[in-house]
Symmetry: none
Subunit: 227 residues, 2 copies
DNA sequence: TAAATATTTAACAAATCTGTAACATTACTC
DNA sequence: GAGTAATGTTACAGATTTGTTAAATATTTA
């Protein structure tokens, strides 16, 4: 499962280069060149790592960093700051704000890549905890049990896996292809419509009398765990 | 049973903060800001985990780590290194020395906590008590006897080992591969279906008239001790 | 509103997984 | 060394899960 990197950078050439190279390495890349937009995008998408340019037209990188590190839901996403030469003194400030690493422009891509890998290695493993909840739905990965409103629910293996995956990032919409890749496995040959069927089965399983439905269909896009 | 964490840190504010937060989480905390002292203290007290600052006035963290990892009696205590920014290159060296994890200062406490928990979970199961029970099932490791409802049960060696392992974390689901690794031993070459057969035998052995079955099958995943 | 497009769901056959008996082999015991 | 116990493998029946299809619904578009 490849990591998702969010790049905040307003210099087009640099952004293009970064995106191209990171994708070539197999990372999923999203980006924004606008501070405000980046902030909300990151909170919504919950990437695995953020590359954050120091100098943005509307909102400084340090502010973004501050906001992110104050938000319980995203504070654990590691941030690598990209600072230009003259801003060296601010580094300390930046690091105190909570950025996990920084690099000075112009930087070498291999070095950046090394830092990214090292950070991801450290952070990725503990993102998956033994228990996950979304509203009144709970999954206990240790005993592999699922509960809705404290009541145990039995799921088939695929449904369990599907839910296990969806609950990692509630509200995030996944395409059928993404679900196939992550839940089924990449080499497997399965029709994408099959996902529909399993979603239906999962829906039926986790559905409880008098509770909201928990899986949203986004037409022509995919599904998400949400109500 | 709460874990005992030993903190080696010479920066007072950080030490205070760590101690306070860890205690709030229910851990027992000891500490030292002095390398030599820490070393002997750890050997004497045998904490469940060590938080080790990289930079100490008298003895570098890496040295302490080395000494601890060379000592048969304490080498199994997990160590989390706390490194400051400038020492990045040493990280590799630190990890090679045998530290189980490291974090770069400034670090987020929730993340540290997550790492601590994950490490303790990995290490704690190995700390076995003389007696373990799950519901009406009791295993006495000293005499190697097993009881169900006060009545002694005879198990074959493999069945005993299997139960011995399963009862360490009741309800946790283990895959056949995990069971093979822990109960049989890693180098051994045994079909994973063999586990099934031994589970069946164990079931038959611990089964008693009018009592619940105690081993759960989780389809396509494995088995757990549970009813 | 009809046509086009997309999703839900039931039904069913195929595939997968598990439990256990039977047997072969190995390891122990006396 | 014969006899006994423990272990691992295999085969097969039964149970469960899965993928596919097709028809029924729902939603969007023209």
């Amino acid at each position: 499962m490849s990591a998702h990197i969010f790049v905040v950078e307003d210099e087009k050439p640099i952004l293009t280069l970064l995106t191209y190279n990171l994708q070539k390495e197999g990372y999923k890349v999203s980006s924004s060149s606008n501070g405000e937009e980046a902030l909300s995008s990151i909170k919504e998408k919950k990437p695995d790592l953020v590359l954050l340019d120091w100098m943005l037209p509307d909102l400084s990188g340090i502010k973004i960093c501050q906001y992110l590190k104050q938000d319980e839901k995203v504070k654990n996403i590691p941030i690598i700051m990209l600072t230009a030469k003259g801003e060296e003194e601010d580094k300390v400030k930046g690091l105190n704000t909570g950025a996990e690493d920084y690099m000075t422009k112009p930087f070498s891509f291999p070095e950046l890549l090394a830092r990214i890998k090292s950070l991801l290695k450290r952070v990725k493993p503990n993102i998956v905890s033994e228990e996950a909840t979304y509203l009144d739905l709970k999954i206990d990965r240790e005993s592999m049990k699922v509960f809705r409103k404290e009541k145990e629910i039995t799921l088939g293996p695929k449904e369990y896996k599907l839910l296990d995956f969806l609950i990692k990032q509630p509200k995030r919409v996944y395409s059928r292809e993404q679900l196939l890749e992550h839940v089924w496995g990449d080499d497997i040959n399965v029709e994408s419509r099959t996902v529909d069927v399993h979603i239906t089965r999962l829906r039926q399983s986790i559905n409880i009398e008098g509770a909201k439905p928990l899986i949203r269909t986004v037409r022509s896009a995919g599904y998400s765990l949400e109500n």
